[in-house]
Symmetry: C3
Subunit: 209 residues, 3 copies
């Protein structure tokens, strides 16, 4: 539990870093704007999950350490801006680990509210990706998850693996490790080989319709 | 009650069909994107209503059948894509019935939380239209309800008729039928004759201001 | 308390006026659209604060007077449209007073839920600015608070002053007056002298990165 808490705090700070870097590339907002966007990116997904579950009080409202993690993340992003941009590949690794972790934690939390496993998987995926969706909506972009890479789909796959292994009584730590690994591997392979999900409709169909 | 439940499930699936068709026309997202947008379109309005009312647990979080309805709707939209586009006129009829139904159900639910009838009417309208608003915001469009056709206004009119007849102790089934009919008729006439609400300001005023 | 209630109602109406004027300038929606946008602008910030706090029932859901204030504000905006545009400077004064008031009220409400003062300050700022953010998102604009003027920052400064003076046991009415004054003065000076927060990254850095 203690290790999980530390990982959650670190993961939140990491999301704030990536949120503020993305914010800055797009619309070059001022300090407040970057902080705001970094904040929404890192706490948006978990907040939406908790609001949908009615899981009050929200994590960051109850525990100010999450807020400190966000601020430290944004400060680091400002100071080491060029380094972060150069280290983009290593950063991608950490970000994907963060996504994997928040998916499984979100899934577990939803299960603890007694919801159907299918709903829990969606809640886990929401925890990981909806912060980014909110960021994209606020900066007037079409959300990345609609277009590129197998990202939210990887989260869903990991969440389902977690739920399956949980059902089979696999030990929790092993389960979390396996489920996070699946998310990590799918996403890394998808990005490395530029794999996308098929379009809903083939171009030919669209042209002829 | 049993019939109402079936109608709600069918209506949710119907909204998912129309959400995923709209999603695909606009931004040609991948399978995940279409499913996501279809999902938000169909459950967004009711979810917002329940979050505003504090009516936990949310309908689709408690009852996974709504999720199945969404998935079946999206699957049907994919398989019968061309047919749905050709049958647009019939589809419009069903969609309008769905909007009418969700308005009245939402209005009833809000009343059961003891709110003022004016608030209940707004909640009913929100149930029917906010899923589409969320869809438009996510796909980076100006929400349709701000621009075209008497749509949300029809929902409000139906909600007020329902509340009036309820106040006058009209039998519930008759009341629902009349209120839904009003929404249906207003919307069909508005679309058929291309009637819009007046602009907030006349062009002349804007030019001279 | 009685005076505060009247001020809250008046402030809500004022926000509806400024929301509907902004709505109309941008996208020239119809009457429904303007009312909808005015409504979201004026009740959005407080609603988001209450949803994040789990503070049910929401103010405007419980008390229909807030809705009447919104409708009266929109009606006045329609009738005295040209006058409001001419009186923009006086209007700016009132709007800034409204922002200051909602910040402090929101901050107080959050404190009454036992949250950390840092969270309370954010909740106060959200109360004042998130209605405008929602309006901008709905009308497909990049939120103003990311770009221009020291606006949300002024709210945060005022909230922190309020929390400090509250901690020092300064009498509540004097405290509110001082904190609101700080917000008001910062914003008026920032707008008058066109002061902005520094960019997150200097242009030179961006060019070279």
């Amino acid at each position: 539990m203690h290790i999980q808490y530390i990982l959650e705090i670190v993961g939140t700070g990491l999301f704030a870093v990536s949120g503020s870097l993305a914010a800055n590339e797009k619309s070059k907002p001022d300090w407040f704007g970057v902080t705001f966007i970094g904040f929404i990116t890192s706490i948006g997904g978990g907040s939406l999950r908790d609001i949908l579950l009615g899981a009050y009080p929200l994590t960051w409202v109850k525990d100010v350490n999450f807020l400190y993690a966000v601020f430290i993340g944004i400060l680091l992003a400002s100071i080491f801006y060029s380094s972060f941009l150069k280290l983009r590949k290593s950063f991608f690794i950490f970000e994907t680990l963060g996504i994997a972790m928040f998916t499984i934690i979100g899934c577990e939390k939803a299960m603890s509210y007694g919801v159907n496993p299918l709903i829990a998987a969606i809640m886990g995926m929401f925890s990981a990706v909806m912060g980014g969706v909110l960021r994209d909506v606020l900066t007037n972009e079409i959300p990345v998850i609609f277009k590129k890479e197998i990202y939210a789909t990887a989260c869903l796959a990991g969440a389902f693996l977690y739920l399956l292994l949980d059902y089979l009584n696999v030990e929790r730590n092993i389960n979390i490790l396996l489920a996070m690994s699946l998310i990590f591997v799918i996403r890394v392979i998808a990005v490395k080989y530029n794999i996308s999900l098929p379009k809903f409709r083939k171009e030919a169909d669209i042209a002829s319709s």
